[in-house]
Subunit: 663 residues, 2 copies
């Protein structure tokens, strides 16, 4: 036997020992927790041992090193394995390992960025790979750095359509820097998966989608090592390694058995002995190549991403840093024509009294902002002409990304890109953001900073009918932890809020409309999250009308109608539905004693509920509040007919207010 | 030339004339509406002309005929083509055709079941095929009738992951009765699709997913006819026809041009002339085979599905028909052992004072209900052991359907099955229903009757961490038109609500928990939608505690703590969060003057907002209301620690109430 093959045998033996340590530690921490997913960890231990010791390039002492690879556990329930890896590299202590799943531990049931080495939260299956696609796109098209993205996937989660959105996007973007490692352990939660160990079925699908696919025995250390080398070398297309494994591998009591999912292994002492006992091997991970910090991070450094506090001090986003009034002077090197460049950077301005859509105000402001905020990237799903991100696409094609009709992949990519410090805006019809609601929910768990923009909100969308109308978007987006929900009513306000959003943390959402509304605000006016505008106010106001978006104009017209009847109405533009300007609303409620809210949204969870909640938090008896909202299923009609038929037009608002006043 | 080929030429000419009529009518109705999607109709006109005249089996005078084929326009924006087809078969008049997209017309911008021939609403792309899979599964596995399901798809929507969930499920169920016809017109809304006219790329993907695929010229009448025949004859696997077409086909001004999406063709007069002018060909469609009405429809006839009123008279569901106290006697033919059968039909009963989970109450009740309600079908996405639909799966394997980890396909299949009069319950972790939120939203537009069940709601889920905890589900499901949201707090209540749900119309949702709670209600007690239970009440109550689900038990304990401090608290179990029992809440608010709500949910859009909204609708000043809810991102912890850390446990409730009372 040659020296080299002896050496190889030695390496293989060491890697097997590392894998056994990962198994033992997975068993130990779940046993201590009396819960968790050790069997899903055991199947993938060989895959991860080889990756960690031989292929990953990562500095665990500096998780923000720009050249670090990214490793995502798309099968987030295999968290014990990830935590065992952290112990093996010395990132966490053995004591911390054993805090898995306990109160206040960073080692949650599924990984979250409370750990500085975790990019994104997983645990809702089918999300890690699409987010990995976003990271790989950032590496290839934005950062232009040689880091690789490795995603450990479960076989069961290949049933999620989002995985195939990712497969399609990855081949389209030729993501040679992306490798999916699928732990084909044949068993889901309640029994066998659809394809069992038929890795050929998966390989055929991935190959049809343009991927490089390898089928291997996931417990054959040498085969795993070879496959990872081949995948890393395959530069022209994304790679998938389909690894046949046995769930619970190495522990006779659970290996390849049903009904062993999501619970500690029985008899952990015996299992640990069977696995060779507790080890303390320290794995040395290859450092990343030295890379410069990308320009977008040095030019406009975002607030430090790490460490993330265990609990945010407040669910309200930090006060926004507002758009600086005069954009910084362009560097001569960037543009030979500084005058033209200055013009590009100038935020759009709409003349009060003219008509313009909020979507155009957003789109033009975003394009201008992108001219000096080089960290802004924009994502759309095949409707950039409607959402008006087309302005940005035209001005900054290198930072615009088309996701075709795949909203889940679009949001996932935004989450992936913000991991690298980019500032993503993702846009589609507001109604179709519902397609990605689970991704938005999880983005909040990931502590991600992403900006969502939805056009064509409400019945005011008109003739297209209810399939195209967002009528639940405010409810859905309010119910996202730490979110900001902004609803502009004119183009200047939309432009101002776009600038505000660029500096918000967490999940923010801008709700725009397709049709044109009167411009009522001055160009350049600033609108903070948490603010409002009192548009009409007089001593002795008898009722307060609260509106947002298109209903602001109806409320203003209603105030005119009421004035004709001798009723003095205050009008508040509650453009920030979350956080809502509670102080202004409470003052108005106290002073006028009666409130009418009007919204182009279902009655549940929207502006009206937000107003009620703000008033209730006053800890004193509430005024009379009348909520106007869309209460019947709309069909097709003109925008104005829709408002009227839904009872949220000027006449309906005036009638409701007059009734409250007792006229 | 032989007689037969002359005849074929004649047939082809006639079919071409039909197609041109469909084109002309698509142009006419969009021109009249001054909006709409004629170009997306023109590309598919030949495909639909041949289908209608030569392959569809459908009685347009009787859309409920059990043998009718089903035709779904997954590319719902091609609605003008569908409406032109309805005119061609005489189902609608020319006058009605020209009402397209106008107020009160049944011909909305995208098809909805306001038209009796439309099974489901489309317009959110990527949903028609998954719903078609549900219909085809009903045909093959439930109705066992020979109808075929034809789905017209766009090429752009193949980017949606849900289409590949459908592809996977269709091959798994060997749906030879399903044909997808893809109109590959190369152009999306804002420009070229990812694969353009590369039908081979799509064919490779479908074949890898186990489908029979044909690539044809979609304007070659004979090729279309042949392909449809082959597809219909292919009995072992689903079929896809990938038809290369030209968007705007036949109208020079728009044919194969960008920027012609979603707008009427310019110069409609010239376009109509170019297409050969207005025609009045009446197409005779082959009748369906005579089929018996399926037993599940005769045994327990649901309320008539058609016609659907333009606007529901009320957003509240009809009063439920309650579970009959004694299930009907089993027919001897169904069971040799009537005693055993009676036992199977008996709803579960849990002894007050014992501990049981609401998910088990639901699961066991559903299994019992399924023994005499033969119309009930159950769908799960790989977590039946957790949701407890496993009880039903064991008792009624022929009516249980496993969708693996594909929540969008699961909901779509439920929508498809209810089209055929089945009564579907679809279950997964409550958090993962967010994955299918767009499908749930659209199900409401479809006027579908489906029942959703989500387990593991709230922080009380415990150690698994936030990815597995539904904390936005009540907000999301309340904001669905006409929905019912039910939150049981004990196993008997869960069982009772399960029976209630079986008779509800619209979208209903049951929120269950993983852990065990004390049984506080009697076995067999009935719980109507819109009801509540006052669990503690005394003259002189100083504060009302409103809770649902796990917080009911915390509120009861809080009332005990308060009583120790001399404070008398009323406790209301608001198990029906929507519709909520406004009368009981208002009475309590008036009598006690102070309300504390406690929910295991984010503060937005949940129980607290529902209570505030109900109290506000009283049109009188509101009492002081204090909302307790989950306000910080949870991590892992025990269920009880979670309640305490989130401030919704008994101590937090008691403290809040005492503060309101002024102690």
């Amino acid at each position: 036997m040659s020296t080299s093959s002896l050496l190889e045998q030695e390496v293989t033996r060491s890697l097997h020992d590392v894998a056994q340590q990962l198994r033992v530690d997975s068993v130990r921490c779940s046993a201590t927790a009396s819960s968790g997913h050790p069997t899903s960890a055991l199947s993938a231990a060989d895959l991860m041992a080889v990756l960690l010791a031989r292929h990953l390039r990562y500095d665990f002492t500096n998780p923000d090193a720009p050249g670090n690879d990214h490793l995502i556990f798309s099968k987030g329930h295999a968290a014990p394995l990830y935590y065992a890896m952290l112990r093996a590299v010395g990132a966490i202590s053995d004591d911390e390992l054993l805090t898995y799943r306990t109160a206040r531990s960073r080692l949650e049931g599924h990984p979250t960025p409370r750990l500085p080495w975790v990019d994104v939260a997983t645990g809702s299956l089918g999300q890690g790979l699409p987010i990995g696609v976003g990271l790989a796109m950032a590496g290839k098209h934005l950062d232009r750095l040689p880091y690789r993205v490795w995603v450990l996937c479960g076989d069961g989660e290949l049933a999620e359509g989002s995985m195939w959105e990712a497969a399609e996007q990855a081949q389209h973007s030729r993501l040679g820097n992306l490798t999916a490692i699928v732990d084909v352990n044949r068993l889901g939660q309640r029994g066998p998966t659809r394809h069992g160990w038929d890795t050929a079925a998966y390989a055929a699908r991935f190959r049809a989608f343009g991927w490089h696919a390898q089928e291997i025995d996931g417990h054959d250390i040498a085969a795993v090592d070879h496959a990872l080398s081949v995948a890393a070398a395959h530069a022209d297309a994304p790679s998938v390694i389909l690894a046949r494994t046995r769930k619970g591998k190495g522990v006779t009591a659970v290996e390849n058995m049903e009904n062993a999912h999501g619970k500690p292994v029985p008899g952990p002492g015996q299992a640990i002995r069977e696995l060779g006992g507790v080890r303390d091997i320290r794995v040395r991970v290859a450092p990343p190549p030295a890379c410069p910090v990308p320009a977008h991070l040095t030019a406009a450094p975002p607030a430090p991403r790490r460490p993330v506090p265990v609990r945010p001090a407040s669910t309200r986003p930090a006060p926004p840093r507002l758009l600086t009034p005069v954009p910084p002077a362009p560097r001569a090197s960037q543009s030979g024509n500084t005058e033209a460049e200055a013009a590009r950077r100038r935020p759009p301005a709409y003349e009060p009294g003219t008509m313009e859509s909020t979507r155009t105000g957003f789109g033009q402001a975003l394009a201008a902002l992108g001219s000096w905020r080089r960290d802004i990237v924009v994502l759309d799903s095949e409707v950039s002409d409607s959402t008006r991100t087309a302005y940005f696409a035209q001005a900054h094609p290198d930072r615009f990304f088309e996701y075709y009709i795949a909203e889940q992949q679009m949001i996932a990519a935004a989450v992936g890109m913000q991991v690298r410090g980019w500032t993503p805006f993702a846009a589609t019809y507001a109604a179709f953001l519902t397609r990605a609601y689970d991704f938005i929910r999880m983005a909040a768990v990931s502590r991600a900073n992403i900006r969502l923009v939805g056009s064509h909100s409400g019945v005011w969308t008109g003739a297209d009918g209810p399939s195209q109308m967002a009528l639940e978007d405010i409810a859905a987006l309010r119910a996202v932890h730490g979110s900001t929900v902004l609803v502009p009513c004119d183009a200047n306000q939309a432009a101002g809020l776009t600038a505000t959003m660029a500096d918000l943390r967490g999940i923010s959402y801008l709700r725009t409309c397709g049709g044109e509304t009167p411009v009522i605000y001055r160009p350049g006016e600033r609108f903070a999250a948490g603010g409002s505008r009192v548009l009409r106010s007089a001593p002795g106001d008898q009722v307060t009308l609260v509106a947002a978006g298109v209903t602001v104009h109806e409320a203003l017209a209603a105030a005119d109608l009421l004035a004709d009847d001798g009723i003095s109405a205050r009008v508040i533009d509650a453009y920030s539905v979350k956080p809502i300007d509670a102080a202004t609303l409470r003052a108005a409620a106290r002073e006028t004693g009666r409130v009418v809210t009007a919204e182009d949204h279902w009655p549940e969870g929207g502006l009206g509920d937000a107003v009620l909640s703000a008033l209730a938090a006053d800890d004193r008896p509430l005024p009379v509040v009348k909520k106007l909202a869309v209460r019947s299923m709309p069909g097709s009609a003109t925008p104005d007919e829709q408002l009227q038929m839904s009872g949220i037009d000027m006449a309906s608002i005036a009638t409701a207010a007059a009734q409250l006043v007792g006229h």
